[in-house]
Structures are given as structure tokens and as C-alpha cells.
Symmetry: C2
């Protein structure tokens, strides 16, 4: 049974394992009034990752948490766009790192205004100097262990929308808060889940939309040379709050930007 | 200026970045009454690692936190041994992963009884199946990003004292909560800091004690073949609460155990 904590009114128990070890997960959900964008995708991911971490939670409990948050914020945000953040922790207890046999997870619920949405003409990005390492057993999960993204984010100067992180071999892997897609000719490329710190729900949705539109999507490493390939047509950032955003300049170099992605992939269609 | 929170009486603000991202550090200190074992070593590490993460904290503030915890627990533990845990987080605020420019860190103070100290005749350990990956920029720091240790700890069956984790190349790296030392002849080996998830204070103290006693200590990778080397004399676990413990059996195989380490290295000498 989940213990639901409203962030604006309650503190977190000091012994929570989310604080102690990052022993938990989070989701950041684009809301419009009481409805959630990509609701099923967020639920799918949190349930699957909780299973991988062995945090006992039911999909219906998380679903009820989203519904209740919509009710709680109905006056504050009405039919506007806002952001719902859910943190799911294993709860308290255990002997040091070892989890307790019967934990009661905490679900902490945060509501915040929608951030500014970037220009569809594209954003500026830089390459982060902070390398990304991924434990194969934790790959793709949106866990609370996010110090690499925090440390990379210290490089933000205010002039760029995103910092793109590379693995130790130099492949482009992901932005601090976005997944990457590259278009070469009529084919699309994105790194495979086993190389990712976070496999975003917008990544999954875009892959499905591209597939439905007849495009081939390859899950492959992205060496930076792809960006100077003759048939390179664009680099995109995907994130559940800002959607799909083209990059018009990376590391000072102009990149081609094409329109039309919004006709292939409109996440607002998934409102529920 | 640090915000000190006593864990037994106060909750943590839901927006704390320690919970959100594991954006912080911790120390686990062996106390005897009001005095701390390896006090200067714990302070050195937390101050150095806070500097690496750019969390603004003064050594004197942390030192005062230890002193105050000793005063607060004077009735509960008197002159007994107990464990003081300090969690230092960056505090609240910032834009997503990006830290705020002026953060006010939280220091959360936990007191707990001393765990049972293992038999000096040696302990049983097993090899963990969970691989350890280390980001070179975060190596050695006792940060709040500890999901790898949590996941490895799920393999505990109750029959072993420790689970030893290996890197993806198969080298022995560290226990879930201990650093490793191997003795070959009269020389000692321990993995270098850049390969470690946590560079323990007891590791540093043992290296200094061994050096003072005239031994050569090599910071090198530990391939498992070292354990079957002809001049292998012992495998030791080092941890600031339990001290230095020989392993008498690893993965079902008996290992040689020698006495005498306590005459080389007595952390209680450092009480202050």
C-alpha cells in the first residue's frame, strides 16, 4: 500500500531510502487541466522500473495518484498546462543498503507551472564535458540517482537550451533531460536503451509515431560524425514536457532544421 | 550557512535535492560517547567531496555538527559505541537538474546503535552478480547515488557478511559497504581511487598505518587470480564502523587468515 505525500504540505521522513540512497524513481508529466499527456506511457515505465528495482507498487495506485493530483490542482491550474512530478521511493527501513523485506513505498506528488516551450525553429545546444556512464543493470531507468545530470547541468551558461552528454567512447548519448534522435535521409537513429541513463517516454512515443508513419528507426550508437554525414537532415531532442525540439546549432555549428515533425508526432493526442 | 536537521524530530523538505537527484554526500562515523573515531578523516573527505560537487560547506560547520550530535546523544549512549550518520545535501531549489546559484545545504543527523562487530577470526563473503560501474568524475565520493549497492545488497542471504562487487572486466573492486585489501607476501594491494565507488576513510587510515609499519601498498586493480597466487596471505574488508576484517571464505572457498592486523592498525587511537 502506497503512502501518498503532497509535497506542498508535508515533509519527507528523514529515513526515506530515496534520500539515503536514491532508492526510487520519478516521472515528470505534462498535464492539461486534469488530463495527462502520455499517461499510459508514464504508468508503463514507472511500473516496469519499479519491478526492476523490486519496489512493490500497483499500476492502479499510481494511476489514482495522477487522478488525485489533477483534482487537487483543478483550482490552481484549471484547463492550463502544468507539470506533475511523481517521486516513488522504496520507503523507510532496511539494514543499510539492504532493502527491507516488506517496504511501504512513498509517492511524493509535486505540481509546478509549465516551463517556457522552446521555439519550433530550433534550439541551441552545447556538448557537455561531463561523461556519462551507465550501469547495464540500471540502464534506461528514471531513478533518483541523477548526479551525473546535475554535474553536467553546472555547465549551463544560460545561452543554450540543452547540454548533450557523450559516453567515454565519444558517442552522443543523451541531453541532461532529453533523448536524442538523428535523421539521415529517411531513416532515424537513437541510442539503444542499454546505453541510456534515461529511456524517456517521449522517446518511446516518437519511435512509435515514426514507425506508424513508415519510417525505419534504428537503435544504434550515435558517433558525432553522423552530424556531418552527407544525408544528415536533423538532430532532435525529446522530452515529455517540451515535446520534440530540433537543434539548430550545436557547439557553435549550424545544423539543418526541417519542419513537419509535429504532423508525425503530436503527444497532445494522447491526453487522458 | 548550514541548516541542521535532527532526523529523529524533523522531516525533510520534499524539494530537497538529496531526495530528487541524490545531490549530496554522507558519512557514517563510529562514535564512542562524545568522541568520534577517524574524526579528521571523515571531515577531510566530506569537505573535499563537497568541494568536488560545489556544495558550499565549511569544515567547522561539519565539525560542530559532530560535536552537537555527541552532546545530543550523551544520555542515550553515554560512553558506549554508537553510529553517527551525517547526510549533507545541496538543499532545495534550482531549475531541474541545474543547481541554484546560492544553495543552503541541509545537514541531516542520525544516531543509531552500534551493529554487531564480526569475529576477528574472519567473515564469509560472496561475489555479487551486480556489476559496479564508476563515473571517473564521481569516483571515490560517498554520494547519495547508491542504487548499485542497494541492488547488490538484495543478494544477501543472511549467511554472508559481505558481497564483493566486480567491474565489468571482472576485477574485484569493493564490497557493498567495504573497501578491499589483498596481502601478497609482504606487499599490500587495493584498487585505485579512480576505480572506486567509495574511497572509505578506513581505507585511507589502513594505507597510512601499513605505510608507517614499513609495508608497500600498491593501488592497482585486483584480478581474482590474485587470490590463488602462491604468496597470497589474506583478503581484508575495511569500513569505518566495523574496522578491518579478514575474509575466511569467499564464494565457498577457504582463504588463509592471519592475525596481527590490529597491532598495525588501531582506529580507536584516533578518538577525538
Amino acid at each position: 500500500m502506497l503512502n501518498v505525500i503532497r509535497a506542498e504540505s508535508n515533509g519527507i521522513p528523514a529515513g526515506d531510502r530515496g534520500l539515503a540512497y536514491g532508492d526510487g524513481l520519478f516521472e515528470t508529466i505534462h498535464m492539461r487541466g486534469r488530463k495527462a499527456v502520455l499517461r499510459a506511457f508514464h504508468l508503463d515505465r514507472m511500473v516496469a522500473d519499479a519491478g526492476r528495482l523490486d519496489i512493490p507498487v500497483q499500476r492502479a495506485e499510481l494511476d489514482a495518484g495522477i487522478t488525485q493530483a489533477g483534482v487537487d490542482q483543478a483550482v490552481a491550474f484549471q484547463s492550463e498546462d502544468w507539470v506533475l512530478k511523481l517521486i516513488l521511493t522504496r520507503g523507510s527501513g532496511g539494514r543499510g543498503y539492504r532493502p527491507p523485506e516488506n517496504s511501504r513505498p512513498n509517492l511524493i506528488v509535486f505540481a509546478s507551472p509549465m516551463p517556457p516551450i522552446p521555439d519550433s525553429a530550433g534550439v541551441v545546444a552545447e556538448l557537455s564535458r561531463f561523461p556519462l556512464t551507465v550501469n547495464p543493470q540500471l540502464a534506461g531507468m528514471k531513478t533518483l540517482n541523477r548526479l551525473e545530470q546535475v554535474m553536467a547541468s553546472r555547465e549551463f551558461t544560460g545561452r543554450e537550451f540543452e547540454l548533450i552528454m557523450s559516453d567515454t567512447a565519444g558517442n552522443l548519448v543523451e541531453g541532461t533531460r532529453t533523448n536524442l534522435f538523428i535523421r539521415l535521409g529517411n531513416e532515424w537513429f537513437t541510442p539503444p536503451v542499454e546505453c541510456l541513463a534515461v529511456a524517456g517516454v517521449m522517446r518511446r512515443y516518437l519511435m512509435e509515431c515514426l514507425g506508424s508513419a513508415g519510417y525505419c528507426v534504428h537503435e544504434e550508437n550515435l558517433p558525432p560524425a553522423m552530424l556531418s554525414s552527407e544525408n544528415f537532415r536533423g538532430l532532435y531532442l525529446a522530452n515529455s514536457v517540451v515535446g520534440i525540439v530540433p537543434v539548430r546549432k550545436l557547439g557553435g555549428v549550424d545544423l539543418p532544421v526541417e519542419g513537419g515533425i509535429e504532423t508525425i508526432c503530436d503527444p497532445l493526442k494522447t491526453l487522458e
